[in-house]
Symmetry: C2
Subunit: 381 residues, 2 copies
């Protein structure tokens, strides 16, 4: 299988697996227990916490969650609710391109009486700082914008946007799930207050993630219960998953980001090759993207059919967020770029990673024209 | 280390570990992706779902969560909110002995305007059916009572209590975290609508759990986002953890429960041995308990000091819920039995499992009188 679906999930790194195995084979304590078994688990937890912090330039503030979705919910709901309780206006600002987890959190805030303002985006999915300033005019509790878009790969100038948010007294959350391990991240240079991460998007395990909360920033927990994670995330910790996340972050920091250039070159080669198909086009901002992602539309070929045909040919790709697949609806991200539904439904996301090769790229470049030709012939047959 | 703290967590079974390893080494897909990599992950997920159901006599309705805490929150909040939306009175009935996760969920419901009624309990922690009938007189959305208490091991007549709840139009949730794998569970015989489970309490992995929702019972999700778990639990699934939970449930069903008698005999031997210490007593309902648990008070010796001294001697025990440890406060469960704070602070929970031996029991029986003697001498100078 040629894996061009790294934005859905990534192969577990052998060394992450080994770190998890080593832990699976050793202490078995509950990190909250005061006896020796508990302490060993707690030590492993704290070492992993330091590694997660190191990846994003933070020495403290990492809270473990059950994944990126929970991290987004904890970050967006927790910060917005706490900011409102502290007297900030019940308003949150975001974009129409966010991941379903962030959109779900915004919907929840809307149910709770928050005003949710979505910034306009242009045909490439870009936002304007002037529009954010305008949206923030009456003050806000929180701004949330992803560090890298899950379908387009788009990267915004988060540092400038976060500065603008702060100038208007709003907190800034960023979903970093698709960025971590793919571009270098320094939370202090970015100026964000909250950042979400997910293990399985960077060769770590599924079912584990983290929210970084800037020390001094108050957020409300999603659940009240045990004292774990300083009360921000009750429940016995997924220690093996956390150990895996720590190792994945260490590898992303020491090795992963250095692959960015070669991954980018592969993505560009794929894109150039596929643009030779008549009518093919690229969705998103080609000037500012993460290395591995390209979102392409192969004119007159529905994306869902292209993905299925690629699957049969041994290639994994996607029409958009895996979280929304199974539906034939066009991606809300592509629709938000202003494309009509039939054109939006053509989008196919290729997301490459460090294990992909030039041979794989060339194979897909040679496969796709045939697939597209057949689909077009069948559609118009 | 002698592990008498199985209610905090349990050793990962070697076969569970192997099932997880086998999965870690094979497919790497996102279960929501439509391509082949995704399907392999989805198949593993569904096999595990069947195993979890088989343990509790259910053929469908299992929703995976990040652990027991989330399962309790999803069950209690999700069912109470949906029942209120469907017109049930905003009232929930529970006991003062519930796990911090359930208490946290009840606190959240209280914040949302629900009336939370806690049934009276007697000095052994028992509830009266008449009191439940009384509490339900005005109708209720939900009753939640644990299948087995985390500190005392108490087991209620859930079938009778659930029938009473249904007669008054209320749903019935039970926290089965401390019961699963320790006593046989048949959700249909019990008549519950919702049951929470946790992997790491039954020799499975940490950070994974499940909520069983009776088909036809509507609950609200905690988060809006992806479509996973039929929309009840968005977020990429922790597939390795789920595979481990499935195997742990299979082992609990085929082997674990058959150890009940021997575990019970060990617990009784320990209890008898420790009752020889002058002033020692047992907290809870000795007539109706899960096999492995005994909660003892060693008169005039604070439980926290006993646990620390045991730890130094290589024995893991606990003063109560691991989730609340680190605080010197007496357990709210023991306080709810009507004991004054100084006596309540004497409680020590020993929770035994299938790996414990008679030699270990005898060692603790010989150790503890010396420990208690020293603590008493130090306390009274």
């Amino acid at each position: 299988m040629i894996d061009f679906d790294h934005n859905a999930t990534t192969r577990l790194d052998q060394r992450v697996k080994e770190a998890m195995l080593a832990f699976l084979s050793s202490p078995r304590g509950n990190p909250s227990s005061i006896h020796a078994l508990g302490r060993a688990a707690r030590d492993a937890l704290e070492r992993a916490r330091e590694e997660v912090g190191a990846l994003i330039g933070a020495s403290s503030g990492v809270v473990f969650t059950s994944g990126g979705t929970e991290a987004d919910f904890l970050g967006v709901l927790g910060a917005a609710r706490a900011a409102r309780a502290a007297g900030r206006p019940p308003r949150v600002v975001s974009s129409p391109l966010e991941h379903p987890a962030v959109r779900g959190a915004l919907e929840t805030l809307s149910d709770e009486g928050f005003e949710v303002m979505l910034l306009p985006v242009d045909e490439k999915g870009r936002v304007e700082q002037g529009d954010l300033a305008e949206a923030l005019r009456g003050g806000a509790a929180l701004v949330t914008l992803a560090l890298s878009n899950h379908e387009l790969g788009n990267v915004y100038d988060i540092a400038a946007l976060a500065e603008l948010a702060h100038a208007h007294g709003a907190l800034f959350h960023s979903d970093g799930v698709q960025a971590a391990g793919r571009m270098s991240i320094d939370v202090h240079a970015l100026g964000v207050d909250l950042l979400s991460l997910s293990g399985h998007k960077m060769h770590g395990p599924k079912g584990i993630g983290a929210l970084w909360v800037k020390p001094g920033v108050e957020i409300f927990p999603l659940w009240k219960g045990g004292h774990q994670e300083k009360g921000l995330r009750p429940g016995t910790e997924n220690v093996v998953g956390i150990v895996g996340l720590g190792e994945a972050c260490r590898l992303a920091r020491t090795e992963g980001i250095s692959c960015a250039e070669s991954v980018s070159a592969l993505r560009d080669r794929l894109e150039q090759g596929l643009l030779a198909i008549p009518g093919a086009r690229v969705n998103g901002d080609r000037e500012r993207r993460v290395p591995g992602t390209t979102n392409m539309a192969l004119a007159s070929a529905p994306g869902e059919l292209v993905v299925i045909a690629l699957d049969l040919a041994g290639v994994a790709a996607s029409t958009g967020a895996a979280c929304a697949s199974g539906s034939m609806e066009p991606s809300p991200v592509i629709l938000a770029l202003g494309q009509p539904p039939d054109r939006a439904a053509e989008a196919v996301r290729f997301s490459l990673g460090r294990d992909n090769t030039q041979d794989e790229v060339d194979e897909v470049i040679s496969l796709l024209p045939v697939i597209v030709e057949r689909i077009r012939a069948a559609s118009f047959g």
